[in-house]
Amino acid sequence: MTTENETPDVEFSDVDLQQLIEVAQLITAARDAMSDEIVTRLSGALSEGVSLLDRITRNEGLMQLLQVLDHPDTQNWLVALSESLHVASQEIASTPPTKGGVLCLTRVATEPGTLEALRFVAALCGNMSQSLREQHRKGINNT
């Protein structure tokens, strides 16, 4: 217990004081360097950033997408997608333009890659339709 006449038993070394002075100098320098425009720009960016973050975190669809993207399988898929994008863009750039026509279309349609792509898109659309119908049914039943 201390009384009013007692002084706290704390000693400051020259090093401590020098460090305090440096901190004070830093704050003063930052204060002097600051202007209304800087404050306005920073707070504007912060304000918009917070709004954006708020919208993202309350968007059920985006949050679900983030969860799916976070899954290891999806990460493999994303890696595959990015690699495919890279390779495909190189292939397209180095291949002469297609001549077109029915024969050309038939040749592309019989390639295994095309059939894989069609299968993937069909699976994607099939699942999406099912999910949309399910969500719609839940919404109507809840009213």
Binding site: R31, M34, D36, V39, T40, L42, S43, G44, L46, S47, E48, V50, S51, D54, R58, G139, N142, T143
Partner: protein
């Protein structure tokens, strides 16, 4: 539950967004619906007008698209209400469309009424609209010396505005190096220099320090624009080279036309914020007849109470909060310092010394306002 919000200013927008957050599940499952009717597709940051009058902001910085500030679940129409059928629970808009409701929130705000004082429209400058603020800025830039008179009509929006105007004028002419050539004379309608006693006590020595002449008990009777003289009901008069008026304000015309309140101010319960005699009509912001400042800050705190109560009535059948009269006002004490006043029904403001960080806080708030009306702050 059909919730109808009339007016897209600070109060209406915060009520709408706050409710949309609280009732997101009910809206998704179509148990609740929020509709906003506004007179404009633009939302103006009104405190920015004073900055515009001193060249510290440009007009484009004051506006955002109203739709961009609203939660996507809110149905928004630019179609002002002309008829209120309170007993029958519907309103009719300018386009003739009828909107039924279960809960109505009236947030139509206030407007300046300089025409109430003869000569004020022709003889005085103001900063309460974009056009008038720009016009005032141009006049201030051309002003090379003489007497600037400030007069204050009652009631008026933002009680701090007259004091901020004085500080801003002092700094503006100091920076231009002609402060010694400009005589600033401040007139106030009651027996002290500000309606809030603690603000008056704090501002008086500041006015003395800046060399501001002040005359209290000066209620403007008329402005003689030809002879540049402003006269008071008390029988005094002041000659001026530039007259800046804080004009008297009144509520919106439709409120008066529909007999909802005298001068457009709706009688409102000070705690529940319900319109007197109704349990399905809330009133927010300037539209109320409450004895609190007509500021965005009051509208903000009121809006939070209203939104929380509407949501809790829907969820558990009873309101949960009372409005305590809270108001928080920044006070710009020049172009690089500020302080603030916070008060409520019971506690008067206790002002702290002006500082630069407080001014930056205000600068930051000018940006954060948009986050605030979105219901985040």
């Amino acid at each position: 539950m059909r919730i109808l919000i009339v007016g897209g200013g600070t109060g209406g927008t915060i009520v709408a967004n706050n409710l949309a957050r609280r009732l997101s599940k009910e809206i998704r499952t179509r148990k609740a619906r929020i509709t906003m009717l506004s007179a404009s597709d633009q939302h103006m940051y009104q405190p920015g007008l004073l900055y515009l009058a001193f060249g510290q902001m440009t007009p484009d910085e004051l506006y955002r698209d109203q739709a961009s500030l609203l939660e996507s679940s809110i149905i928004f129409h630019v179609d002002p209400v002309e008829e209120y059928k309170i007993e029958e629970k519907y309103v009719v808009t300018k386009s003739g469309k009828r909107h039924n409701y279960d809960v109505l929130v009236i947030a139509t705000g206030s407007r300046i009424a300089p025409a109430q004082i003869p000569g004020m429209t022709e003889g005085a400058d103001t900063f309460y609209t974009e056009e008038s603020a720009i016009k005032l800025f141009k006049k201030l830039r051309e002003f090379e010396g003489g007497t600037i008179a400030i007069v204050v009509g009652v009631p008026h929006k933002c009680p701090i505005a007259p004091v901020e105007l004085v500080f801003s004028l002092n700094d503006y002419f100091k920076k231009r190096g002609i402060r010694d050539k400009v005589h600033i004379k401040y007139h106030y309608p009651i027996g002290r220099i500000h309606t809030i006693e603690n603000v008056a006590t704090w501002a008086k020595p500041e006015f003395d320090r800046m060399g501001i002449e002040y005359e209290t008990l000066f209620n403007v009777e008329e402005v003689d624009a030809e002879n540049n003289v402003v006269k008071s009901l008390e029988g005094t008069e002041t000659a001026y080279d530039l007259l800046i008026a804080i004009p008297p304000h009144c509520g919106m015309e439709e409120i008066e036309a529909n007999n909802l309140g005298e001068d457009g101010w709706i009688p409102t319960d000070r705690h529940s914020l319900l319109m007197d005699g109704r349990d399905d009509v809330y009133v927010v912001g300037d539209t109320t007849n409450l004895p609190v400042s007509k500021t965005g800050s009051a509208a903000h705190f009121e809006a939070e109470v209203i939104a929380e109560n509407i949501a809790s009535v829907i969820k558990m059948g009873t309101p949960v909060r009372d409005y305590d009269g809270k108001v928080y006002c920044f006070i710009e004490t020049g172009h690089d310092s500020a302080t603030y006043a916070m008060f409520d029904y019971k506690n008067p403001p206790d002002l702290t010394n002006p500082s630069k960080p407080m001014h930056w806080f205000k600068m930051a708030y000018n940006q954060m306002y948009w986050t605030s009306v979105r219901g985040l702050l």
